[in-house]
Each structure stands twice: as structure tokens, then as C-alpha cells.
């Protein structure tokens, strides 16, 4: 009796709640940490990026118009989905990063816990970052954090799942939509996790994930005028040049720092705008 032949998975992009191949038809080989062939992954083009931004822009309004309570539930649902497919994620992280199983399990657990952490932030951030302002006059004046809009994320190259979660969950939890470039060499854990948004009640387009060559996609990401902010943490030595390009449309730019505290809200604050409303008070 012959051994059963595995059914291999095709890794595709996550755009607008669907799973397309690259419009270019291109793909590239991804190998595991041990150098063995892992998969042919879709190699996104600039056009795929453009489509993803269009989807993100449309989705962002729906996402922000949902209640904060609802956004928290959706993010929590995402954590539930990840938890139920934990073993699969562990396997992907193990292969991608070459970790021992135990370390991969810890990494996945931390990633899921961070989604849970962010799911709790959706309906706190307004109170924590906003407030009423006692202006010297007959006005009711309040400041609210509102999402910047569409955020382009260059996910960390090394930390395939935890780094990805850290980069996308924060902007999403405050109401942004994200177009993320997964780790070029280790894209599969991010793709698998992103697929789970399809079963987590995310409006399509809130999280879009592209796989491909970072060097090819980051410049169009940094210069795209309809992207409001960029997280360049995973762009390595290109980071400075990309930050310069991002200046063309006055983007908000975030780069994780070595000494970042995981409780810092710097990343959340980078991708929200404080909107202040004055209203007259009178009889």
C-alpha cells in the first residue's frame, strides 16, 4: 500500500477579502529555513498593490463606521480562529524561521495573545487618547483619535508571524485598513493568518496581504498618494530612502525602535489623527 500523497497548498494574495493570484501571473519559490522547497508564492506586482489600496480605502470607511465594540469582537474572533489553527501556524513558523517546535509554539502563542491585547484596545483608545478640552469660552470642545486611513506596512523580515501581527494589528484596531507586504523570504505564516480574517467577520479589504519582492513593492508603497501612513519596520536598509519617498505625500512614518516597550502606544498614536470638534454652547 502506497503512502498517501499530501495535498499541497497554493499560497495566494489576500486582497479585498478574496485570495487572488498576482495579476502578473508571477510567483517565486520560497524555501524553508533548512533550504528545502516550501512553496511557490504569488509574486505581487505594482498593480496588485494598487488594487489592494483601492480595496483598503473602501473598506476603511466600513471598518471605521462599525462600532468600536464590534471591531473588538472581530479582532477577538481572529484570535479565536488562530487559536483553533494553532498547530498549523506553529508548523509554518517552525519551517519559516527554523525554530525548535517549543519556540515556535511560544512565538505563535505570543502572536495570538497580541491580537487579543489589541482586540481589547478598540473601545479604549478613544478615551485614552482623546478627551474634553476646557477652552476659555462658551464652547464644548472634545478631541477624538480617528484613524489615519490606509496604512502601508512592510512587515518584519525575520519574525514571520509575531512581527507581522505587531505591524498590522495596531493600525487595524484603531480603525485603519492595511496593505501589508509579508516577509519576503518567510511569507507563509502571515498568509495563513491573513486567510483567517475571512472567517472572522472582517469586512473584505481591511487587511490586505501581498507577498513578493520587497525591493520591488516598497517604493510604490511609500509613494502611493492614497496611503496615509507607512510602517517601514521591515524595510531594512531601504528604510531611510523610503521615509524620504513617503515625505512626498506627508505620510505618517513608523519604524519600530530597538528599545520599544511592548506597552508603548507609539505605534497606535502614529496611525491615529486627533480630531478636535468645537461646538457653541448657548440657549
Amino acid at each position: 500500500m502506497s503512502e498517501r500523497l499530501d495535498v499541497k497548498k497554493t499560497y495566494k494574495l489576500v486582497v479585498n477579502g478574496a485570495f487572488p493570484r498576482s495579476e502578473s501571473g508571477r510567483s517565486y519559490q520560497v524555501v524553508a529555513a533548512d533550504g528545502k522547497f516550501l512553496a511557490n508564492v504569488a509574486q505581487a506586482s505594482r498593480k496588485d498593490l494598487r488594487e489592494a489600496v483601492v480595496a483598503a480605502r473602501a473598506a476603511q470607511i466600513k471598518w471605521w463606521n462599525a462600532t468600536a465594540y464590534n471591531r473588538g469582537q472581530v479582532l477577538y474572533r481572529w484570535a479565536e480562529m488562530a487559536e483553533s489553527r494553532r498547530e498549523e501556524l506553529v508548523e509554518h513558523v517552525q519551517l519559516a524561521e527554523g525554530l525548535k517546535k517549543k519556540d515556535a509554539q511560544l512565538s505563535v502563542a505570543r502572536a495570538i495573545d497580541r491580537i487579543v491585547w489589541y482586540s481589547g484596545w478598540t473601545d479604549k483608545v478613544t478615551q485614552v487618547l482623546g478627551g474634553a478640552n476646557p477652552v476659555a469660552g462658551p464652547f464644548f470642545n472634545f478631541s477624538l483619535p480617528v484613524p489615519s486611513g490606509v496604512i502601508g506596512v512592510v512587515a518584519p523580515q525575520q519574525s514571520s508571524l509575531e512581527g507581522f501581527v505587531e505591524a498590522v494589528a495596531a493600525p487595524i484596531c484603531v480603525g485603519n485598513a492595511v496593505v501589508a507586504l509579508a516577509s519576503e523570504l518567510r511569507p507563509t505564516p502571515a498568509i495563513v493568518l491573513a486567510e483567517m480574517t475571512a472567517t472572522s467577520d472582517f469586512p473584505g479589504g481591511v487587511l490586505n496581504v501581498l507577498t513578493g519582492f520587497t525591493g520591488e513593492l516598497v517604493a510604490p508603497l511609500a509613494t502611493h498618494e492614497d496611503i496615509d501612513g507607512v510602517d517601514l519596520t521591515g524595510s531594512g536598509e531601504l528604510s531611510d530612502e523610503l521615509a524620504r519617498l513617503a515625505a512626498g505625500s506627508i505620510k505618517r512614518v513608523y519604524r519600530a525602535r530597538a528599545n520599544d516597550d511592548e506597552n508603548s502606544l507609539r505605534q497606535l498614536r502614529t496611525f491615529v489623527e486627533t480630531s478636535t470638534v468645537w461646538h457653541t454652547i448657548g440657549q
Partner: protein, 487 residues
């Protein structure tokens, strides 16, 4: 309504000139730089003139700081940061700021006169808005200096270090206060670069720092032009750049600091939409439109330069608006009854003329106040363009002058769409008696500040700043501290 039995001219009571006295300014003929608590000798620098835009006369000459001067200023600020200011407790920093606030109040009349002479804005505005708000800003941030652990940025937020601050010419002293007060409260030292055309009130402020006994080098002031600003932006000894000015320059600055560890906040241009619904309180709407675009000659980044009015009331609003525009008293900024003063510079006047010429060429209907303009100085009569389309340049580009573009809309959704159809996002106005709709609109506007049934109001407790190409970071309120803390 074709035959009029009677026309009641507004302003039947003509007002005799009521000029404020220029001698109150006590200006010196020439100024050096303010470095390490002292003014340098004026003759040790190349000098340039600061003009009174209402007369084109030279008020004083000021030093053009070279890059070597900027080096010195940054070195002074660094030394003051390391040796003095970082060792000064929050409570002591607070007291310096309270002192400064009081001294601004004490010298408010002099500051108002200097501001009006140097900038061209009406004395009523410098007296009633600029100077009191500048003092209030120092008062507000004084109180934060020893309470930073309660500001929501962690248990012991640290200052950033040396801040390079570049400010515009439209509210010279107020912008200096917006920059300096939070920076000093948070524990930073500063190098301030005032605008080329309006350096004088900052130099009076330097005298106030001396009177307050502020430690040497905590604030250094380098007057100059764009090259001075560039030297400050590029200086490796600066940890933080805060800039208020045009989006063009802001973009350059963001590019130049992109590859450095410098922190950056930008407060840039705008094309504010002032949205008027059919149920709005019409008489207050008219005043709000006037305040929105003609306050400070329209030299306001958050000016309500696009009027979006619901079609059902558009004719009525326009009729009343034009009547009111004609009433504006344009002329001598030193006259206490002047509503609209001088354009700040020949260059700005040229830009306004160019853009308004475009407006005519694009087919918008131009209405210009019949006010008489003085022969000398830089002047532009209050102007309204009707029949403006979204695609017209005058509906998209920031004019930064007393020029209003009027567009119409039919539904709240269309109003929001048109308001957001701009690369900018600084401020918007919403006028309606219906609270639920006002909040619905406010929630959807992409703007850092939204004024409902009012416009162009400012307060030190209220965060101000833009979204998209209007910049990032906030000035004012608890939020304003973030720009000067290492968080």
C-alpha cells in the same frame, strides 16, 4: 426685486481714524541674534530689513544668521540642555513659564503694536487675539511642566533634547508661543527661527526671557531666511524639528530629516471647507464665513477658504455675504477700527494676484469689495469667487489671502465628499441647528479641527493640527506635549 425705493448704506456713520501709537513699539534700529541669553552685536552679522507691509518702510534691520551662527545656537542649546535645563525640576521650569506668561501680559500693548507693524495685521486682532493667546499658551504649558507623568505618555516621560523650531509669518508671536511653551515645559531647549518677514516680536520675546531670568541658552533665536532654516533642519545636533509653514517646505523638511533620528512635527497648509446647511443660523453664518476667510487677511492655514453652501440657501447666503464683505474696513492696520490689514509681503501679494487671475480665467465669477486701498504698502481687497467648480485651482490650491471660493452642495453626503476632496485636511466648519447632523458630518470630515457654528477659534487647551498633507502632530492641549517628549 428690481425697483428699490430706498437703499440703506451700511456704515452710514463714518469713523474718524483711531490710530494706535507706533511709538509704543520702542524698536531698536538693528538687532543681533539671541544666543546664550545675550544679543550679539548687530554689526557682527549680515543684516536684512524687516518692512512694515502697510507702508513698505523699514522698521528695523535684523541679523541674517549664517550656518556658523546656527552651529553656535545649537551648541548653546545643547550646553543649556545638558548643564542646566535637564537638571531643572519640572516645578522650577513651570515657574519660569508662568513668569514669561506674566511678562507677555505686562508688555502686551507693546507686543501688539510690534506685531501689527511687522506683520500688517489689524491692531484689533494682535491686541485681542495674538498676544492674549500667546500669554495663555505659556500659562497653560507652565502648569504641565511638573505634571508630565500624568499626561498619558508613561510614568516618567523624558524630553527629546534640542528642538529646532521654524515658524511662519502669519502669527509671529503666537506661533513662537505654540512652539516654545510645550517644548520648555517638557524639558527641551530650543533654537527658534522666526519668519524672514516678521522677526521682531520674537526679539521682544527674547528680552522677556532675559527679564524672566530664563537660564542662558535655553532658548536661542536665529533670525534669517530660508538658508537659516535649512541649516537648522540639517544640523546634526538637533534632536527634533517642529515646523509650521507651507506644505511645499514641509515636504522638503520631511525628506531632509527622513534618514536621521530627528523627530518631526509639521503644521502645514490647508483649504478649509466651511459647510453651511439650510437650517443654519444665517446671521451668525455670515459672520462665521467672514471670520473664516478674512481674519488675518486670510493668512491663516486653517482659513475657511472654500464655502460649501447648500443650494437651497445659496442665493440668500451669497447676497448677505456680499453685503457684509463690502462693509469690511480695509486699511491702516494700526487703526483700531480696521477689519482687514495689509498683505504681509510683496511676494505673498503676487501669489494671491496670480491665483485670483487663474480664478477669473477658469470662469469663476469674481466679486471684489469696493473698498479703497492705500497707495503704498501691500494690499488686496476682500474677494469672493462664486460659480466655482471643484476642479478650479482656486478650489484646490491654498491662496493664503482674503479670497473665498463659493461652491454648493445638495445633501450632507455630498457636502462631506466635497469637503474631503482635497489633499489637505486641517480644518472645517459646519453650520447647522441640527446637532445630530453636525456630529454626523464632523465624524466624516477628514480634518484635524472642526468648528461647529463657529470658526477660527483657538485655545491653548485645544489640540490643533492637520491630517494628510496638512501635516502631523498636534499643538495645544495634552496632545501638544507628545511632540516634545521621547515617547
Amino acid at each position: 426685486m428690481t425697483d428699490h425705493s430706498l437703499t440703506s448704506e451700511l456704515g452710514g456713520l463714518s469713523y474718524d481714524p483711531a490710530p494706535e501709537s507706533a511709538s509704543i513699539a520702542r524698536l531698536q534700529p538693528s538687532y543681533g541674534l539671541f544666543l546664550d541669553g545675550e544679543f550679539t552685536a548687530p554689526e557682527s552679522h549680515e543684516q536684512f530689513a524687516s518692512l512694515n507691509p502697510a507702508t513698505e518702510e523699514t522698521l528695523a534691520t535684523v541679523a541674517l544668521a549664517s550656518s556658523a551662527d546656527v552651529d553656535t545656537a545649537v551648541a548653546c542649546a545643547r550646553r543649556a540642555y545638558t548643564k542646566v535645563w535637564s537638571k531643572t525640576t519640572g516645578a522650577e521650569r513651570a515657574k519660569y513659564l508662568f513668569r514669561i506668561a506674566r511678562l507677555i501680559q505686562e508688555r502686551s500693548r507693546e507686543l501688539a503694536v510690534v506685531e501689527t507693524l511687522d506683520n500688517g495685521k489689524p491692531i484689533r486682532e494682535s491686541r485681542d487675539v495674538d498676544i492674549p493667546l500667546a500669554a495663555a499658551h505659556f500659562f497653560y504649558y507652565a502648569g504641565w511642566a511638573d505634571k508630565l507623568e500624568h499626561a498619558g505618555f508613561g510614568a516618567s516621560p523624558r524630553p527629546i533634547g534640542v528642538a529646532g523650531q521654524i515658524i511662519p509669518w502669519n502669527f509671529p508671536l503666537l506661533m513662537a508661543a505654540w512652539k516654545l511653551a510645550p517644548a520648555l515645559a517638557a524639558g527641551n531647549t530650543c533654537v527658534l527661527k522666526p519668519a524672514e518677514t516678521t522677526p521682531l516680536s520674537a526679539l521682544i520675546l527674547a528680552e522677556i526671557f532675559q527679564q524672566a531670568g530664563l537660564p542662558d541658552g535655553v532658548v536661542n533665536i536665529v533670525t534669517g531666511d530660508g538658508t537659516t532654516g535649512a541649516a537648522l533642519v540639517d544640523h546634526p545636533g538637533v534632536d527634533k524639528i517642529a515646523f509650521t509653514g507651507s506644505t511645499e517646505v514641509g515636504r522638503l523638511i520631511q525628506e531632509r530629516v527622513a534618514a536621521t533620528p530627528k523627530r518631526l512635527t509639521l503644521e502645514l497648509g490647508g483649504k478649509g471647507a466651511n459647510i453651511v446647511f439650510e437650517d443654519a443660523p444665517i446671521d451668525e453664518v455670515i459672520e462665521g464665513i467672514i471670520d473664516g476667510i478674512f481674519f488675518n487677511q486670510g493668512h491663516v492655514c486653517c482659513a475657511g477658504s472654500r464655502l460649501l453652501v447648500q443650494e437651497s440657501v445659496a442665493d440668500e447666503v451669497l447676497r448677505r455675504l456680499l453685503r457684509r464683505v463690502d462693509q469690511l474696513r480695509v486699511g491702516d492696520p494700526m487703526d483700531k477700527n480696521t477689519d482687514v490689514g495689509a498683505i504681509n509681503s510683496a511676494a505673498q501679494l503676487e501669489r494671491i494676484r496670480e491665483l485670483t487671475t487663474w480664478g477669473e480665467e477658469e470662469g469663476a465669477t469674481r466679486y471684489t469689495s469696493a473698498c479703497e486701498l492705500p497707495d503704498r504698502g501691500y494690499w488686496f481687497a476682500p474677494t469672493v469667487f462664486a460659480d466655482v467648480a471643484q476642479s478650479h485651482r482656486i478650489a484646490r490650491d491654498e491662496i493664503f489671502g482674503p479670497v473665498l471660493s463659493v461652491l454648493t452642495f445638495r445633501t450632507p453626503e455630498e457636502a462631506v465628499a466635497k469637503a474631503n476632496n482635497s489633499k489637505y485636511g486641517l480644518a472645517c466648519g459646519v453650520w447647522s441647528e441640527k446637532g445630530s447632523r453636525t456630529l454626523w458630518v464632523a465624524q466624516r470630515l477628514r480634518a484635524g479641527v472642526i468648528w461647529a457654528n463657529t470658526y477660527n477659534k483657538f485655545d491653548p487647551t485645544s489640540p490643533f493640527g492637520g491630517v494628510r498633507e496638512s501635516g502631523f502632530g498636534r499643538e495645544g492641549g495634552r496632545h501638544g506635549l507628545e511632540a516634545y517628549l521621547d515617547v
